[in-house]
């Protein structure tokens, strides 16, 4: 019996959450230390899984399967493939840096309350519950399990935003986000159940379902809609794909994301944009595209169209925002559009790029939100016209932001380029016009990144209410970690591309050798 590493990765944050709840509320340092320890364990194990994955081996590795509810066909079944291994690592990285950022700094004379100072016990408990759910979704190979962990990942968002969020919009944003995501998951659940019943295997095991569907379990099954017979996959694919893609931020259902991002506390925003949106994209890939490949082929042009709107329109909206955090929020919508764009090409390069973009953007956006949070905690404003000259007071943060900004606009030598380039190659093969349209977004992204850099970080130092300095050592470690990861992948893409490619190859085989 091999070492149950995936179960441990999933359970570590959850067990840590329960342990943390046992601490007395005043023991803030011990609470934070436990959280940090748990995140280090999870990160270490996810690194181990990442580098131990055998690219030449079978698609699913580190398989564990325990019977759970056999009469319903539900097992606790986990594994990673080439696409999910980097995402598990991403979650570990974001968890680790999120805990570091939440440590914060409390300095009453400077009116500085960075990080989570109020009820950290409950905060970390909910955050880790969320993290456990996220890990669970990425490694789940049982459809029911996937939904189970998905809900665990969504529900704590409501509490985290409503209690610790930005006072002006937190209730609204928390409600909006949770409702959107729940409705999305319900739509997907309906589709998933349709698959479960129609395949007739009495099993939620996605590997078995995939094999059955590949062998033709759904051939000839069709849905009667107003008299016309629509093939099963064509009818149900939108349900399954769109339900999860809502969490991925696809247009026109992306609206929850900017408000959710802005209202959430820093670490939660890091999780939200960095990992949660990847959850949606990943699930739409796993449950939508991989289970219903014919449906995917049929609807691919539509997905491409919507994703294009994400990419270009999202970038436009980002460039007119006055609130720094809203700029980043909409930039997430734009970059997740690139992921969906890659998916929609159904080519090896497009899917490779999408996989890399999920990782690269996850790290980049975690860095962005960390920076925004650090600045807001000190300046107490996020309005771009009111900010300025940050580089003079917070040089470390400035350099980190510059690295993130360059990744965002796809500067070669950083991970953003390594991800976007294959996406564009894939789009080019399917539709050169779409590729040209999408490349417009590069210019717009460059313009708003440069705008933020010059308005917020450079220029004259306005009169801030309180004197402040650069961030703490823990914050610096977090920013440095995130920056180094992006630089490493940019400089040496081979560290990730072969892994994702192996996963992509298996996916493309489901398309009859497409």
């Amino acid at each position: 019996m091999q070492f149950p590493v995936l179960t441990i990765i999933v359970m570590t944050p959850m067990v840590a959450a329960m342990l943390i709840l046992l601490f007395p509320a005043e023991r803030k340092t011990e609470i934070r230390a436990t959280a940090l320890a748990a995140s280090v364990v999870a990160l270490g194990l996810s690194l181990w899984v990442y580098f131990s994955y055998d690219i030449t081996g079978p698609q699913y590795q580190f398989i564990e399967k325990y019977a759970w509810l056999p009469f319903l066909g539900i097992d606790f079944h986990v594994a990673v493939d080439g696409i999910s291994a980097p995402l598990v690592l991403l979650t570990g990285v974001v968890m680790f840096t999120g805990v570091l950022i939440s440590w914060g700094e409390f300095n009453p004379e400077q009116h500085l309350s960075a990080g989570i100072q109020d009820r950290p016990r409950e905060f970390f408990a909910f955050l880790f519950l969320l993290a456990g759910g996220v890990f669970g979704v990425f490694v789940a190979q049982d459809l029911f399990m996937l939904f189970f962990f998905y809900e665990i990942a969504v529900f704590p968002m409501y509490l985290l935003i409503a209690i610790w969020g930005w006072i002006k919009t937190r209730e609204y944003a928390a409600m909006k986000l949770t409702m959107y995501l729940f409705i999305g998951s319900v739509i997907s659940l309906i589709g998933a159940l349709a698959i479960y019943f129609s395949v007739g295997l009495n099993s939620f095991d996605m590997i078995k379902l995939t094999e059955a569907i590949q062998s033709g379990a759904l051939n000839g099954v069709s849905v009667n809609l107003f008299g016309s017979q629509i093939p099963f996959q064509v009818f149900w694919f939108p349900f399954v794909f769109m339900g999860f893609a809502i969490l991925g931020g696809i247009f026109p259902f992306h609206n929850w994301s900017p408000d959710g991002h802005v209202a959430a506390p820093t670490a939660v925003s890091m999780f939200h944009a960095g990992v949660l949106m990847k959850l949606g994209a990943f699930a739409s890939l796993k449950v939508g595209i991989m289970l219903l490949p014919e449906g995917a082929t049929y609807w691919a042009p539509w997905i491409m169209g919507m994703a294009l709107v994400n990419v270009v329109y999202g970038a436009f909206i980002a460039s007119i925002q006055q609130d720094f955090k809203y700029v980043i929020g909409f930039s997430s919508v734009s970059h997740m559009g690139l992921v969906m764009l890659g998916f929609s090409t159904l080519t090896s390069q497009g899917l490779l790029g999408a996989g890399m973009q999920m990782f690269s953007h996850g790290v980049m956006t975690a860095l962005f939100f960390a920076v925004v949070g650090m600045i807001y905690d000190r300046t107490h404003t996020r309005q771009i016209p009111e900010l300025g000259g940050i580089s003079k007071v917070m040089p470390f943060v400035t350099v980190a932001f510059i690295v993130g900004g360059l990744v965002s606009l796809g500067m070669p030598g950083l991970s953003g380029f390594a991800a976007e380039f294959p996406i564009f190659m894939g789009v080019w093969r399917v539709s050169p016009w779409a590729a040209i349209l999408a490349s417009i977004s590069i210019v717009i992204t460059a313009s708003y990144i440069v705008r933020i850099m010059s308005s917020v970080f450079f220029g004259k130092l306005p009169h801030y209410e309180h004197h402040f300095g650069d961030v703490t050592i823990l914050d610096k470690v977090a920013l440095a970690t995130l920056s180094l990861v992006m630089i490493t992948i940019g400089v040496y893409p081979a560290v990730m591309d072969r892994l994702i490619s192996s996963g992509v190859e298996h996916i493309l085989r489901l398309f009859g050798g497409a």
């Binding site: 003079k392 030598g413 190659m425």
Partner: protein, 521 residues
């Protein structure tokens, strides 16, 4: 060829030094300056060693390294040298220490923008430039091409001219910020076309390896582009995408308009590297990529390129003559001199690289790249020297400074003569070779370009006259210090090379020639 990693060492030693410097304390400016200087001498030393190990008689690239980089895209970490890239690498590794020495008087601009940041940016810039010259993979080329932009942006933006303002969208911003944005946006706009063309090639040929592409691309007919356009049309579009991106960098008229602002507002050492090396990246792109990958299209459009080159030569010279800002005069002189490079390239393209004339033109073009690197770096530094002391670049405010600063005056005249193309100095050799090679192939454009040479003389002499000759301007008597030993040390290697190449160019010419003979394989 014995496996060696010396090219990677040359390429990344500046980054390594920059990394070490990141851990040094910000306040220790002397330590930082000397670490940067000595660190930048490492790649120079290695390049000289490679120079002596380089075999001029052998075809193809030497010191080749080929490692895994982005396997799924068929892009590899592929480095190699031929005579062309070797001469450019030598230029880069020579000019960087000189520019760093010239930067010893640069100070902190702010907490974030310290001497430490300046030196680190400079070293990163060197890696970017070297990467372009050493890369034998199209995607790797593009990565290094873009990487060089970021340090240059910050160098101009933060350490550029203190004075001056320009208008942007109704708001007045410092001239250096304006220049940095203009530089970045222009170059990136060109790069976008380059990116799309590179993607086209990568998708069609299923590889980014230059050595393979040289074999398969020119004759490739199945381009897998579902646009419904013919192969010829698509290749022409790709050719122009490449050509515009490189024309922007060279800079070729009318894509040159970013240069006067960028060069003028950049800090002295920044201008030295901009004019000395960065412009050569564009010309190198023409030679390494455009001509070998698009021989038919290059031949078809060679007259267009020659026309633009001629305009650059003539207009660049006229514009330089009309300047009152000394630094802007030198900036336009770059447009003027680089025009000759493109003229030579166009002539060779027109002849498809065959025949003695084409090879002579190419030799002249590459030599001009090297020579202009030396003389432009020298001229910009000398402008910086006088600006240090007078805090003005306005030619009208100088006058008769020769008796006050005779050593500076002598050096200025020497370097100006190199820029002018005085026989006996390096500029003459390269300009003569270009004209000699281009005349039989493109006589009209060559003839018109030589008219430009008249005006080259005019603006150079105007510069010297306004600064050094005539009645001495009372303002500066007693307020002008002579050029100091550090500054002489900066100019010395440049002047020695200028004279040496002018009198005995063989050592450089042979290396260049060996590469030019094989350029069109």
């Amino acid at each position: 060829m014995e496996p060696t990693r010396v090219l990677s060492l040359i390429l990344f030693s500046p980054t390594l030094v920059a990394l070490i410097m990141a851990f040094l304390p910000r306040e220790e400016k002397t330590l930082l300056r000397w670490t940067a200087l000595l660190g930048s001498l490492v790649p120079f030393g290695l390049t000289v060693a490679v120079w002596f190990g380089f075999d001029q008689g052998r075809a193809g690239f030497q010191y080749v390294e080929n490692y895994v980089w982005y396997p799924t895209l068929n892009a590899t970490y592929h480095l190699g040298l031929d005579g062309l890239s070797l001469s450019m690498v030598l230029l880069t590794t020579l000019l960087t220490p000189i520019a760093i020495l010239a930067s010893f008087n640069v100070e902190d601009v702010s907490k974030a923008y310290s001497v430490k940041a300046y030196m680190i940016l400079f070293l990163m810039l060197e890696t970017g430039m070297l990467g372009v010259f050493l890369s034998l993979d199209l995607l790797l080329f593009f990565v290094f091409w873009e990487i060089g932009l970021v340090p240059m942006f910050f160098l101009i933006n933060q350490w550029g001219s203190e004075k001056g303002e320009r208008e942007v969208f109704g708001k007045m911003i410092p001239a250096r910020q304006y220049a940095s944005y203009k530089f970045m946006i222009y170059t990136m706009a060109g790069s976008l076309g380059l990116l799309l063309a590179i993607q086209l090639i990568g998708v069609a040929a299923n590889t980014y390896d230059l050595t393979k592409l040289y074999q398969i691309w020119p004759s490739m007919a199945d381009l897998k582009v579902p646009f419904g356009l013919g192969v010829g049309t698509i290749k022409t579009m790709a050719f122009w995408a490449f050509a515009v991106a490189f024309a922007l960098k060279v800079p070729l008229w009318p894509f040159h308009t970013w240069l006067p602002d960028a060069h003028t507002e950049a800090p002295t050492a920044g201008s030295m590297i901009l004019a000395g090396v960065l412009l050569k990246l564009g010309a190198y792109g023409f030679l390494r990529l455009v001509l070998p990958l698009f021989p038919i299209e290059s031949q078809t459009y060679a007259p267009v390129l020659a026309f633009l080159a001629m305009m650059a030569i003539v207009f660049g010279a006229w514009a330089a003559y009309g300047q009152t800002d000394f630094k802007r005069l030198v900036a336009y002189s770059s447009v003027n001199h680089m025009g000759f490079v493109v003229l030579g390239i166009a002539a060779a393209a027109a002849a498809l690289g065959k025949g003695d004339d084409a090879v002579i033109a190419l030799n002249g073009a590459v030599m001009q790249m090297f020579n202009h690197g030396l003389s432009a770096a020298g001229m910009f530094f000398l402008v910086g020297v006088i600006y240090e002391r007078t805090h003005t670049r306005n030619l009208e405010e100088f006058g008769g400074l020769f008796p006050l600063v005779p050593v500076y005056g002598g050096i200025l005249i020497f370097t100006s003569m190199a820029s002018l193309g005085l026989p006996g100095l390096n500029g003459f050799i390269s300009e003569f070779l270009v004209v000699r090679g281009s005349w039989p192939i493109l006589p009209l454009y060559t003839a018109l370009s030589m008219i430009g040479l008249f005006f080259t003389g005019a603006y150079i002499l105007k510069g010297i006259k306004k600064v050094l000759h005539g009645p001495t301007n009372e303002k500066w008597i007693g307020h002008l210090t002579e050029i100091n030993p550090r500054e002489i040390l900066v100019m010395a290697p440049l002047m020695v090379l200028i004279l040496w190449i002018g009198v005995w160019p063989g050592w450089l010419l042979n290396t260049i020639n060996s590469a030019m003979l094989m350029l069109f394989k």
